[in-house]
Assembly symmetry: C2
Homo-oligomer: 111 residues x 2
Protein backbone atom coordinates (compact mmCIF):
# COMPACT_ATOMS: atom_id res chain seq x y z
CA UNK A 1 0.00 0.00 0.00
CA UNK A 2 2.81 2.42 0.87
CA UNK A 3 5.56 1.20 -1.41
CA UNK A 4 8.16 3.74 -2.51
CA UNK A 5 6.48 3.72 -5.90
CA UNK A 6 3.36 5.09 -4.28
CA UNK A 7 5.37 7.97 -2.84
CA UNK A 8 6.93 8.55 -6.25
CA UNK A 9 3.49 8.73 -7.81
CA UNK A 10 2.15 11.05 -5.13
CA UNK A 11 5.01 13.51 -5.38
CA UNK A 12 5.00 13.40 -9.16
CA UNK A 13 1.26 14.03 -9.17
CA UNK A 14 1.45 17.14 -7.00
CA UNK A 15 4.55 18.45 -8.78
CA UNK A 16 2.28 19.78 -11.53
CA UNK A 17 0.51 23.11 -10.91
CA UNK A 18 -2.56 22.11 -12.89
CA UNK A 19 -3.00 19.04 -10.76
CA UNK A 20 -2.46 20.99 -7.55
CA UNK A 21 -5.15 23.39 -8.74
CA UNK A 22 -7.48 20.47 -9.41
CA UNK A 23 -6.96 19.18 -5.89
CA UNK A 24 -7.70 22.61 -4.52
CA UNK A 25 -10.82 22.84 -6.65
CA UNK A 26 -11.99 19.62 -5.06
CA UNK A 27 -11.73 21.24 -1.63
CA UNK A 28 -15.12 22.79 -2.22
CA UNK A 29 -16.48 19.27 -2.41
CA UNK A 30 -17.17 16.69 -5.06
CA UNK A 31 -17.17 17.85 -8.66
CA UNK A 32 -17.74 16.33 -12.06
CA UNK A 33 -14.97 16.13 -14.66
CA UNK A 34 -16.45 18.93 -16.77
CA UNK A 35 -16.83 21.17 -13.75
CA UNK A 36 -13.25 20.57 -12.74
CA UNK A 37 -12.05 21.31 -16.27
CA UNK A 38 -14.07 24.47 -16.73
CA UNK A 39 -11.65 27.07 -15.30
CA UNK A 40 -8.68 25.80 -17.29
CA UNK A 41 -7.67 26.97 -20.71
CA UNK A 42 -6.63 23.55 -21.91
CA UNK A 43 -8.79 20.88 -23.46
CA UNK A 44 -11.15 18.62 -21.53
CA UNK A 45 -9.06 15.68 -22.62
CA UNK A 46 -5.93 17.13 -21.09
CA UNK A 47 -7.75 17.55 -17.78
CA UNK A 48 -9.12 14.04 -18.06
CA UNK A 49 -5.53 12.82 -18.28
CA UNK A 50 -4.47 14.88 -15.29
CA UNK A 51 -7.32 13.39 -13.31
CA UNK A 52 -6.12 9.95 -14.26
CA UNK A 53 -2.69 10.74 -12.89
CA UNK A 54 -4.25 11.91 -9.63
CA UNK A 55 -6.38 8.79 -9.56
CA UNK A 56 -3.41 6.46 -10.07
CA UNK A 57 -1.75 8.29 -7.16
CA UNK A 58 -4.94 7.66 -5.14
CA UNK A 59 -5.30 11.39 -4.54
CA UNK A 60 -8.66 11.41 -6.26
CA UNK A 61 -11.52 8.98 -6.04
CA UNK A 62 -14.12 8.58 -8.75
CA UNK A 63 -17.79 7.81 -8.20
CA UNK A 64 -19.73 7.01 -11.37
CA UNK A 65 -23.40 7.93 -11.53
CA UNK A 66 -24.79 7.35 -14.97
CA UNK A 67 -22.72 9.26 -17.44
CA UNK A 68 -21.40 11.60 -14.76
CA UNK A 69 -18.20 10.95 -12.84
CA UNK A 70 -17.96 12.60 -9.45
CA UNK A 71 -14.47 13.22 -8.20
CA UNK A 72 -13.37 13.64 -4.63
CA UNK A 73 -10.17 14.11 -2.72
CA UNK A 74 -8.47 11.36 -0.69
CA UNK A 75 -6.10 12.32 2.05
CA UNK A 76 -3.92 9.25 2.63
CA UNK A 77 -1.28 9.90 -0.04
CA UNK A 78 -0.58 13.43 1.16
CA UNK A 79 -0.34 12.10 4.70
CA UNK A 80 2.35 9.70 3.57
CA UNK A 81 4.17 12.37 1.60
CA UNK A 82 4.06 14.73 4.55
CA UNK A 83 5.48 11.97 6.71
CA UNK A 84 8.48 11.46 4.44
CA UNK A 85 9.17 15.16 4.17
CA UNK A 86 8.81 15.75 7.89
CA UNK A 87 11.06 12.82 8.74
CA UNK A 88 13.71 14.18 6.44
CA UNK A 89 13.37 17.68 7.84
CA UNK A 90 13.33 16.57 11.46
CA UNK A 91 16.37 14.46 10.92
CA UNK A 92 18.22 17.47 9.65
CA UNK A 93 16.94 19.79 12.33
CA UNK A 94 18.33 17.50 14.98
CA UNK A 95 21.73 16.85 13.48
CA UNK A 96 24.75 17.67 15.57
CA UNK A 97 26.34 19.67 12.83
CA UNK A 98 23.45 22.11 12.75
CA UNK A 99 25.65 24.67 14.39
CA UNK A 100 28.42 24.00 11.93
CA UNK A 101 26.00 24.49 9.07
CA UNK A 102 24.70 27.73 10.50
CA UNK A 103 28.20 29.05 10.87
CA UNK A 104 29.10 28.09 7.37
CA UNK A 105 26.02 29.79 5.94
CA UNK A 106 26.58 32.87 8.01
CA UNK A 107 30.12 32.90 6.75
CA UNK A 108 28.91 32.84 3.16
CA UNK A 109 26.35 35.54 3.71
CA UNK A 110 29.20 37.95 4.31
CA UNK A 111 30.35 37.85 0.69
Amino acid sequence: MSTPQTLDRTLLAIADPTRRAILQRLSSGEARVTEVAQPFSMSLNAISKHILVLERARLVKRRRVGREHFLSYRSEPLDTAAKWIDETRNFWASRLDTLEKLLREEDEAKR
Copy 2:
Protein backbone atom coordinates in the same frame (compact mmCIF):
# COMPACT_ATOMS: atom_id res chain seq x y z
CA MET B 1 12.31 33.14 -4.46
CA SER B 2 9.20 31.07 -3.71
CA THR B 3 7.44 31.18 -7.06
CA PRO B 4 5.18 28.25 -7.90
CA GLN B 5 7.88 27.11 -10.30
CA THR B 6 10.19 26.62 -7.34
CA LEU B 7 7.63 24.38 -5.69
CA ASP B 8 7.25 22.46 -8.94
CA ARG B 9 10.99 21.94 -9.13
CA THR B 10 11.23 20.86 -5.50
CA LEU B 11 8.46 18.31 -5.73
CA LEU B 12 9.70 17.02 -9.05
CA ALA B 13 13.20 16.67 -7.62
CA ILE B 14 12.10 14.58 -4.64
CA ALA B 15 9.69 12.51 -6.73
CA ASP B 16 12.65 10.40 -7.86
CA PRO B 17 13.88 7.65 -5.50
CA THR B 18 17.50 8.03 -6.56
CA ARG B 19 17.41 11.71 -5.72
CA ARG B 20 15.69 11.06 -2.38
CA ALA B 21 18.47 8.58 -1.62
CA ILE B 22 21.07 11.18 -2.52
CA LEU B 23 19.50 13.66 -0.13
CA GLN B 24 19.50 11.04 2.58
CA ARG B 25 23.13 10.24 1.88
CA LEU B 26 23.91 13.89 2.44
CA SER B 27 22.40 13.66 5.91
CA SER B 28 25.68 12.23 7.14
CA GLY B 29 27.26 15.49 6.11
CA GLU B 30 28.97 16.95 3.09
CA ALA B 31 30.12 14.54 0.44
CA ARG B 32 31.90 14.71 -2.89
CA VAL B 33 30.19 13.73 -6.13
CA THR B 34 32.10 10.47 -6.43
CA GLU B 35 31.27 9.53 -2.86
CA VAL B 36 27.62 10.23 -3.43
CA ALA B 37 27.63 8.16 -6.61
CA GLN B 38 29.47 5.18 -5.14
CA PRO B 39 26.52 3.15 -3.74
CA PHE B 40 24.50 3.40 -6.94
CA SER B 41 24.62 0.98 -9.81
CA MET B 42 24.28 3.65 -12.46
CA SER B 43 27.01 5.69 -14.08
CA LEU B 44 28.72 8.65 -12.45
CA ASN B 45 27.33 10.83 -15.19
CA ALA B 46 23.79 9.83 -14.37
CA ILE B 47 24.34 10.79 -10.75
CA SER B 48 25.96 14.03 -11.84
CA LYS B 49 22.76 14.85 -13.69
CA HIS B 50 20.60 13.97 -10.69
CA ILE B 51 22.70 16.28 -8.57
CA LEU B 52 22.13 19.04 -11.08
CA VAL B 53 18.39 18.58 -10.75
CA LEU B 54 18.68 18.81 -6.97
CA GLU B 55 20.87 21.87 -7.36
CA ARG B 56 18.39 23.64 -9.66
CA ALA B 57 15.76 22.91 -7.01
CA ARG B 58 18.12 24.46 -4.43
CA LEU B 59 18.02 21.27 -2.40
CA VAL B 60 21.75 20.82 -2.75
CA LYS B 61 24.53 23.34 -2.51
CA ARG B 62 27.92 22.89 -4.13
CA ARG B 63 31.25 24.07 -2.73
CA ARG B 64 34.19 23.73 -5.11
CA VAL B 65 37.64 23.06 -3.68
CA GLY B 66 40.12 22.41 -6.39
CA ARG B 67 38.89 19.56 -8.49
CA GLU B 68 36.57 18.33 -5.76
CA HIS B 69 32.94 19.43 -5.42
CA PHE B 70 31.49 19.14 -1.95
CA LEU B 71 27.74 18.81 -1.81
CA SER B 72 25.50 19.68 1.07
CA TYR B 73 21.82 19.74 1.82
CA ARG B 74 19.73 22.92 1.98
CA SER B 75 16.53 22.90 3.95
CA GLU B 76 14.50 25.81 2.58
CA PRO B 77 12.84 24.04 -0.37
CA LEU B 78 11.57 21.16 1.75
CA ASP B 79 10.27 23.69 4.25
CA THR B 80 8.26 25.33 1.50
CA ALA B 81 7.02 22.01 0.18
CA ALA B 82 5.99 20.91 3.65
CA LYS B 83 4.13 24.17 4.05
CA TRP B 84 2.08 23.62 0.91
CA ILE B 85 1.28 20.03 1.83
CA ASP B 86 0.36 20.89 5.39
CA GLU B 87 -1.84 23.77 4.32
CA THR B 88 -3.68 21.47 1.95
CA ARG B 89 -4.03 18.78 4.57
CA ASN B 90 -5.12 21.13 7.32
CA PHE B 91 -7.69 22.67 5.08
CA TRP B 92 -9.15 19.28 4.46
CA ALA B 93 -8.96 18.16 8.04
CA SER B 94 -11.07 21.14 9.06
CA ARG B 95 -13.72 20.89 6.38
CA LEU B 96 -17.30 20.61 7.51
CA ASP B 97 -17.94 17.60 5.34
CA THR B 98 -15.33 15.55 7.14
CA LEU B 99 -18.08 13.57 8.79
CA GLU B 100 -19.84 13.05 5.52
CA LYS B 101 -16.61 11.75 3.99
CA LEU B 102 -16.01 9.37 6.86
CA LEU B 103 -19.49 7.98 6.56
CA ARG B 104 -19.12 7.49 2.83
CA GLU B 105 -15.82 5.66 3.26
CA GLU B 106 -17.20 3.52 6.04
CA ASP B 107 -20.07 2.69 3.77
CA GLU B 108 -17.70 1.55 1.06
CA ALA B 109 -15.60 -0.52 3.40
CA LYS B 110 -18.61 -2.79 3.88
CA ARG B 111 -18.39 -4.12 0.33
